[in-house]
């Protein structure tokens, strides 16, 4: 008897916690079709509509910006949104989560693909079930998704090169610390290298190192670079943790102000370093736009508001949306760093 009571208490606790953790996006009446006020604008949706964002490594700060954008769009449209994803960097987890979300029959899915091929299968399943799907930040091009929103990594590299050139007066020895083998980083590195070669012949790229997504490894690599090339004037790091590691190394070598750092993304560590003057600038990706316009795309698809040609775009096999959208990159410096702290 005692065991049974304890069993029931623990179960109640579990469900109680689940209740606590539940978001307040409510769905009181489960209507199958979204209702919209046909008398006025079709852009007024109903709270019964639910759009879901699916990510991987769902707990990191990076996705927060994207979801904020999605929430802003949802508020303007009057619909509900949900954030979910795989806790870890695991294909099986994200595929499972996406398929579980599909079984809930949401009105649209905004997903970032941990792997383009593995995610193509569940995305196709969603599309076959009549659920509109748009990808952001990491694409699954063969899945049949309606559009893809992301910041062009190559262009980001170009911007970094130009800004670093501005800081160093267009001449001197510079380095690059990146994550070889990862597509988005390779593209950033390519943009950087090619712009330096084309537009700034007096700048020389003397070293390319692997930051291993780890502050400590990067700090070591950066220290080594500064030892080998004492006249180094700048470095571009293609990832946030890499930038923080490089900043630490520059501080420890007492070269703040002599070695300029241009980094990536806007996590707190990076922003703090910018305000302290150790990192000169970072590149913020348009994550808010990925969420906001992704949500807008999904709503338009769900409510069939797109008419790129006279007649049905499906039968005419015309794309309903721009297939790829570049959400751009902003250079964040001491002047505007405060705006990027997440609240």
């Amino acid at each position: 008897m005692k065991k049974l009571i304890i069993l029931l208490v623990i179960l109640t606790l579990m469900f109680g916690l689940i209740g606590c953790g539940q978001k307040t996006t409510d769905t009181n009446s489960k209507q199958a079709t979204p209702t919209s006020n046909t008398a006025s604008s079709p852009l007024i949706g109903s709270k019964n509509e639910k759009y879901v964002m699916v990510t991987f490594v769902s707990g990191i700060e990076y996705w927060k910006g994207a979801f904020k954008g999605m929430e802003a769009a949802a508020k303007n449209l009057g619909v509900s949104v949900q954030y979910t994803g795989a806790n870890e960097y695991d294909i099986n987890q994200e595929v499972t989560v996406l398929e579980q979300v599909i079984s809930q029959k949401p009105d649209g899915i905004l997903v970032t693909a941990i792997n383009p091929d593995a995610m193509a299968v569940p995305i196709k399943k969603a599309l076959d079930a009549g659920i509109p799907v748009v990808t952001f930040d990491a694409d699954s091009p063969k899945s049949g998704r309606y559009s893809f929103l992301a910041t062009s990594n190559y262009q980001a590299g170009v911007t970094a090169a130009r800004y670093l050139a501005k800081l160093t007066g267009g001449k001197g020895e510079v380095a690059l610390i990146t994550i070889p083998g990862q597509l988005n980083h390779e593209e950033r590195a390519a943009g950087f290298k090619e712009t330096l070669a084309k537009e700034f012949p007096e700048m020389k790229l003397v070293s390319v190192q692997d930051g291993k997504s780890d502050q400590v490894a990067t700090a070591q690599a950066m220290g080594a670079i500064m030892q080998t090339f004492p006249n180094l004037v700048g470095v571009f790091t293609t990832e946030a943790s890499t930038g923080v590691g490089a900043a630490t190394a520059v501080k420890e070598a007492n070269k703040v102000g002599k070695v300029h750092i241009v980094s990536f993304d806007t996590d707190k560590g990076t922003l703090d370093n910018i305000k302290a003057g150790v990192i000169d600038a970072t590149l913020a990706q348009g994550t808010w736009h990925m969420g906001y316009w992704g949500m807008m795309f999904l709503y338009h698809l769900k409510h069939d508001l797109l008419k790129p040609i006279d007649g049905d775009w499906k039968t005419a096999k015309v794309l309903p949306l721009p297939p790829v959208v570049d959400t751009g990159v902003t250079v964040v410096t001491k002047e505007n760093a405060d705006f990027y702290y997440s609240k």
Partner: protein
């Protein structure tokens, strides 16, 4: 006198029989787990419409199938009184090796699978050798294997995932197809669970694993070849992990060096929820499967009920502690 005593005992024992099945039910780990799963599933069916759908149930089961195979391996190792921290990494290594052999080297996929299984057996043999002959602790040895196997996976792919494309329809069928309406991965998991549960309960050789785990010295003194048992179990564990890796490749058509990260801890959690003890000598395969199902069910519930992602890891931990606590109290009752 004797007759009087006998009749007294008869009456009191018949009174006890009424409550006995109930008490025994809850002191059997599998039964209480199955009950919790049923209660949770029923609650979920009422709380959200998307739960009791074919697609959701199948997805959840497929999602846990790889972890399930790893948990079968981990349970056997735990029953033996050991531990294998390398299961997730061997999964990744096998997945990558099979992929690289098939795509980069251009071997026939089945030959690649065979070589990969051999490689997994080698990995397990290496662990077994260091534990039995050299005498290193299983924790340290398998911790080392965890890094080595994962490292090899990274070296083989240079960090980037490898896409298989359509290598062989038969291979893809195993990972993605169904038989009689049930996805093959679920069938394979059920088959392995039934086989190993049977072996662990009925096979004389596998029963020895329990003796070794309960009291290694006594097992050795009673004539059991403890070293052989240990060696065999580590080889089996690596073989099952390798199989899980190959099935992962068949399922996704992609070989990633990051597959199976954290699988070892999930497997330990599943096995322990299912009744295994970290000190050895206890645990069943069916219990472990129920443990894995419970955790997967709770995770599914969190997603369908729109619970914040930050709670997911927390809840898994709570389920683990709760399940172990309930069992501790059940044990306490029985012995006191």
């Amino acid at each position: 006198m004797n007759i009087m005593e006998k009749s007294e005992t008869n009456i009191s024992s018949s009174r006890k029989i009424k409550f006995k099945p109930f008490k025994t039910l809850f002191s059997i780990r599998e039964a209480s787990l199955a009950t919790i799963i049923l209660i949770t599933a029923t609650a979920m069916t009422f709380l959200t419409p998307g739960f009791m759908t074919r697609s959701n149930i199948l997805t959840t089961l497929i999602g846990l199938s790889m972890d399930g195979i790893i948990t079968v391996a981990m349970t056997i190792v735990l029953v033996m009184g050991g531990i294998d921290l390398g299961v997730g990494s061997v999964l990744a290594f096998a997945s990558v090796l099979a992929g690289v052999l098939a795509i980069k080297v251009g071997l026939n996929i089945w030959l690649a699978v065979f070589i990969t299984l051999l490689a997994s057996v080698s990995a397990g043999s290496l662990v077994g050798y260091f534990v039995t002959r050299i005498g290193l602790s299983p924790f340290i040895t398998t911790l080392g294997m965890m890094s080595i196997a994962r490292g090899l996976a990274y070296v083989l792919t240079k960090g980037s995932p490898l896409s298989l494309g359509v290598i062989s329809p038969a291979f893809d069928y195993i990972g993605q197809g169904s038989f009689l309406g049930i996805p093959n991965l679920i069938l394979i998991l059920i088959l392995l669970v039934l086989i190993f549960d049977f072996l662990m309960r009925r096979s004389a050789v596998f029963r020895q694993i329990y003796y070794v785990g309960s009291n290694e010295k006594a097992a050795r003194l009673s004539g059991i070849n403890v070293d052989r048992i240990k060696f065999g179990v580590y080889v089996l564990s690596a073989l099952l992990s390798g199989l899980a890796g190959i099935l992962t490749l068949a399922r996704f058509g992609v070989a990633t060096p990051t597959a199976g990260v954290g699988a070892e801890l999930r497997a330990i959690a599943g096995a322990v929820i299912g009744g295994a003890s970290l000190s050895g000598g206890e645990g069943t395969i069916i219990g472990a499967l129920l443990g894995v199902i419970l955790v997967a069910l709770v995770n599914d519930a969190l997603i369908l009920l729109n619970v914040s992602v930050y709670w997911q890891s927390l809840v898994t931990g709570i389920v683990l502690i709760a399940a172990v606590t309930i069992d501790m109290l059940a044990h306490h009752r029985r012995t006191s």
